[in-house]
């Protein structure tokens, strides 16, 4: 009950007129930042951090976290409209979101994405409010072996749940692993696969790969198909929001499952990216309409968006209570906390009650504010697709190039982005799935790092992955997910056999 009293006090802090103003400003800036690929939440928060030094820490963190929420909402916009995910966790949103836009249902897709984000975030905030101390203790159980098992589960659920031929999926994934290996090997401190060049030092950044593979690849495909967007009929009807809302409660099961996956991934802290992929993969298997996934199924937008936001929100908890940032954006926020003289750690909740509960209360309010802001703009965003391709394509190209350049301030990255664009086009033409490759680029180096850390600790014995109940059960889940299609086939064979006897 003490939590509730604290929360109410937090609301009184967050609802001060100045803080509400700061919230609106933050959300609008965040959406703008999210729309520009490359200029993701982390950069946006970093650029605006100095602006907040004159505010009180509570107002400052409210503004910065609102930029973060805004960027999360904004990331879905480009994924759906142009197939360009601005952040790693919006990749899975493109799978069904963009086909929906191509069918002229951009408004529905955007509404579903924004609403699901809101639901996911809300679920995570309620969880933070109620069981924050338990959650912090759970996060401590994750050593390298447990971390690896989570990544393992993400990869397996993707291979096992995918509808593409498994060998094409695995081939694409391994290309991704190879690309993720370029740069510094963090275990030995040596450079790998750089061929002595200085430009490859930094490895392949995920954003550049994704902007190229998805964004540029999509433009190349559109050019081939006659220089026009297939979403041209998108309506400007404001009623679309209400119509979509009427449809959404049908997917309550997917939504709840995605919330749970998201919260778990956010706390562990594996982050929002595996959460969104895992949730999409499982939804595809579990749904009755699973065969339509990838062709513009609204459930395929709901699943990843809900999980990503539940994870993104619950990831703030390990950051506040343990000082470990779950994402680059969280890392910048963490730096901000230290600059304002707040020490993230177990005692933050005890010593800085006003700040912590003000922040949690602001999460409730700012998500509502964010939802209102983005939903009112849905018809506007959807209308972007009515602009002729010959005008919008060059604009997208320029924005993509700026985005790729911003990542490292390097012109080489723009060339790299174009190369990835051609790779993406060729892969699509040959029916190789892009998603497993992207997943491997994003998580490959982290998975490898945790695998090798585990083996260092166990002195080479693989037993460490079965050494306790937690890691063992996650690994077992992973194996089940991987071999699910085989189980399915066996099951199908056994049943007629039994019927015959």
């Amino acid at each position: 009950m003490e939590e509730l009293a604290n929360l109410m006090h937090g609301f009184s802090v967050a609802l001060q007129p100045f803080n509400i103003g700061v919230m609106f400003l933050g959300i609008v800036l965040g959406v703008l930042i999210g729309v520009l690929p490359g200029l993701g939440g982390a950069n946006g928060v970093a650029i605006l951090l100095p602006l907040t030094f004159t505010m009180s820490p509570t107002s400052a963190i409210i503004m910065l976290s609102c930029i973060y929420w805004g960027a999360l909402f904004g990331g879905a916009i480009t994924s759906i409209l142009f197939n360009i995910p601005g952040e790693p966790w919006s990749v899975a949103t493109t799978f069904d979101g963009h086909p929906m836009a191509q069918k002229g249902k951009a408004g529905e897709a955007l509404t579903a994405a924004f609403t699901s984000s809101f639901v996911g975030a809300l679920f995570a905030i309620v969880m933070i409010t109620l069981i924050a101390p338990l959650v912090a203790a759970f996060a401590l159980k994750f050593g390298p072996a447990e971390q690896f098992s989570v990544y393992f589960l993400a990869f397996c659920s993707f291979v096992g749940m995918s509808k593409e031929p498994p060998f094409k999926t695995i081939a694409a994934m391994f290309i991704g692993f190879a690309l993720a290996a370029v740069g510094l090997d963090s275990i030995t401190g040596q450079l790998r696969l750089t061929f002595g060049t200085e430009t490859l030092l930094t490895g392949f950044n995920f954003l550049i790969a994704v902007i190229g593979l998805f964004g540029i690849g999509e433009i190349l495909l559109s050019i081939e198909e006659g220089l026009k967007f297939r979403g041209g009929k998108a309506g400007m009807n404001p009623k679309v929001v209400l119509q979509t809302w009427a449809e959404l409660p049908r997917y309550w099961a997917t939504s709840l499952r995605s919330c749970i996956i998201g919260c778990w991934m956010g706390i562990s802290p594996a982050g929002a990216t595996p959460a969104s992929f895992m949730s999409y993969g499982i939804a595809r298997r579990a749904s009755k309409r699973g065969n339509n996934f990838g062709k513009g199924e609204i459930e395929g937008v709901v699943a990843p968006e809900t999980a990503a936001h539940a994870a993104g929100t619950s990831a703030l908890l390990p950051m506040l209570s343990l000082g470990v940032p779950g994402s680059p954006t969280a890392a910048v926020l963490l730096g901000g906390l230290l600059i304002w003289g707040l020490q993230p750690g177990p005692l933050l909740f005890v010593e800085q009650k006003e700040f912590v509960w003000g922040l949690i209360a602001s999460m409730y309010i700012s998500n509502v504010v964010g939802l209102i802001v983005v939903l009112t703009c849905v018809p506007l965003f959807a209308a972007i697709l009515r602009i002729p391709f010959s005008i919008i394509a060059p604009v997208i190209l320029v924005i993509c190039a700026i985005g790729a350049y911003t990542v490292h301030n390097s012109t080489f990255d723009i060339v790299l982005m174009l190369v990835f664009g051609i790779i993406g086009y060729v892969m699509k033409k040959c029916d190789y799935p892009l998603a497993p490759m992207v997943l491997a680029i994003v998580l490959g180096d982290k998975a490898e790092e945790n695998f090798r850390q585990s083996l260092l600790a166990s002195q080479g014995s693989l037993d460490i992955f079965w050494s306790n109940g937690l890691v063992g059960s996650i690994m077992a889940l992973g194996l089940i997910a991987l071999f699910w299609p085989i189980f399915n086939v066996l099951w199908a064979r056994m049943r007629p056999a039994r019927a015959a006897t």
């Binding site: 982390a42 970093a46 951090l49 100095p50 030094f53 004159t54 996060a139 401590l140 159980k141 994750f142 050593g143 390298p144 740069g183 510094l184 090997d185 963090s186 275990i187 030995t188 401190g189 040596q190 450079l191 200085e198 030092l201 930094t202 490895g203 343990l322 000082g323 470990v324 940032p325 680059p328 890392a331 910048v332 963490l334 730096g335 901000g336 230290l338 600059i339 003289g341 020490q343 993230p344 750690g345 177990p346 005692l347 933050l348 490292h408 301030n409 790092e449 850390q453 260092l456 600790a457 002195q459």
Partner: protein
């Protein structure tokens, strides 16, 4: 007509040249200044650089804005190469950590501090030996004895590979004869949490990376790798201050290691430009925000410029080379 224009241009050019030739007594930035961090967001160098940016902005210490840019690729090699390749651009400065020495030595990435123009040492970061508070070890001696008996199964967590934390671990092994399994992690905060979760047996975290867990009663500091105890007397946890942590030398570990938090400029910078930045950082050091950062992180507040600084850096590079050679960490050419 054409001739007079040419003449005018030539005249203007001559004036510009003259202005550059005369020793500009008071140089000032005319464009935004890029502050490069050769490390990722959220780490010690990042927090320090962003605090400086905040102080400069808040107190209007510079007429032009200061922009902080992370270039962490290749263990910081990306950032250092960027500065090295920006000869004669006085609008770019870089904050260093030990990777100024360790990255070129361990990876062979072609740069050295001699490529850059030294400006000032801002502070030195301390290293402390930490264990989980649930464990019975009260002194570094107890812990090292236990590690010896464990026959090389104790795990030391640290930031990065072949960087400062692993160099200290090597030095401990050499001094004491105890063997550790070194497990590299990505950032100091993650290292401390692995220790709280009992996934490793000890760490050599910087004070500010572990202080929150110390205050919460989860971690225990055993000794500090410095010549004398830290000067901070405010009580932090269990009735102890930073100043109460004994030096490792008194515990039989004769190891001193401090990490440089210093500023360098691009190659070819002149004295007026270096002096400008020295003046700027002296002003930063006077602010309350800076003093708080120093006290919170229990920094060693040595400030050096000019020949003293160059000499210090040269000695440290030699020392890193020797330590890393002994440990077999040097890049094979």
């Amino acid at each position: 007509m054409m001739k007079s224009i040419t003449k005018g241009v030539l005249g203007a050019a001559a004036v510009v040249c003259a202005a550059q030739l005369t020793p500009a007594q008071a140089w000032e930035p005319t464009r935004p200044v890029e502050f490069i961090i050769p490390a990722g967001p959220g780490g010690g160098a990042d927090i320090m650089a962003r605090t400086v940016q905040g102080i400069v902005t808040k107190h209007s210490l510079m007429k032009q804005p200061m922009v902080v840019i992370n270039k962490a690729g290749g263990a910081g090699g990306e950032g250092f190469l960027d500065v090295k390749n920006s000869r004669n651009n006085p609008h770019k400065i870089v904050i260093t950590l030990s990777n100024l020495f360790t990255t070129p030595l361990a990876t062979g990435i072609p740069f050295s501090w001699k490529d850059l123009t030294p400006v000032a040492m801002l502070a030195l970061d301390e290293f402390v030996l930490w264990v989980n508070a649930e464990k019975p070890y009260k002194t570094a001696k107890d812990y090292i004895e236990a590690a010896k008996k464990a026959n090389g199964t104790y795990k030391m967590g640290g930031t990065g590979s072949k960087q400062e934390d692993q160099i200290i671990t090597e030095a401990i092994q050499k001094q004491s004869g105890a063997k550790f399994i070194y497990i590299p992690q990505r950032g100091g905060g993650a290292v401390a949490v692995q220790l709280v979760g009992n996934h490793v047996d000890s760490t050599v975290n910087n004070p500010n990376e572990a202080v929150a867990h110390w205050r919460a009663g989860k971690l225990r500091p055993l000794c500090v790798f410095d010549a004398k105890p830290m000067p901070y007397k405010d009580v932090i946890a269990e009735g102890k201050s930073w100043g109460d942590i004994p030096v490792c030398k008194a515990q039989g570990l004769d190891i001193e290691y401090l990490m440089l938090r210093g500023i360098f400029m691009t190659p070819g910078a002149n004295k007026a430009q270096v002096d400008y930045y020295i003046g700027l950082f002296q002003k930063v050091r006077q602010t309350d925000e800076w003093k708080k950062l120093m006290a919170d992180g229990a920094f060693n507040q040595t400030f050096m410029t000019g020949p003293d600084y160059v000499k210090w850096v040269a000695t440290e590079e030699k020392r890193h080379h020797d330590l890393m050679k002994d440990a077999g960490f040097l890049a094979t050419k």
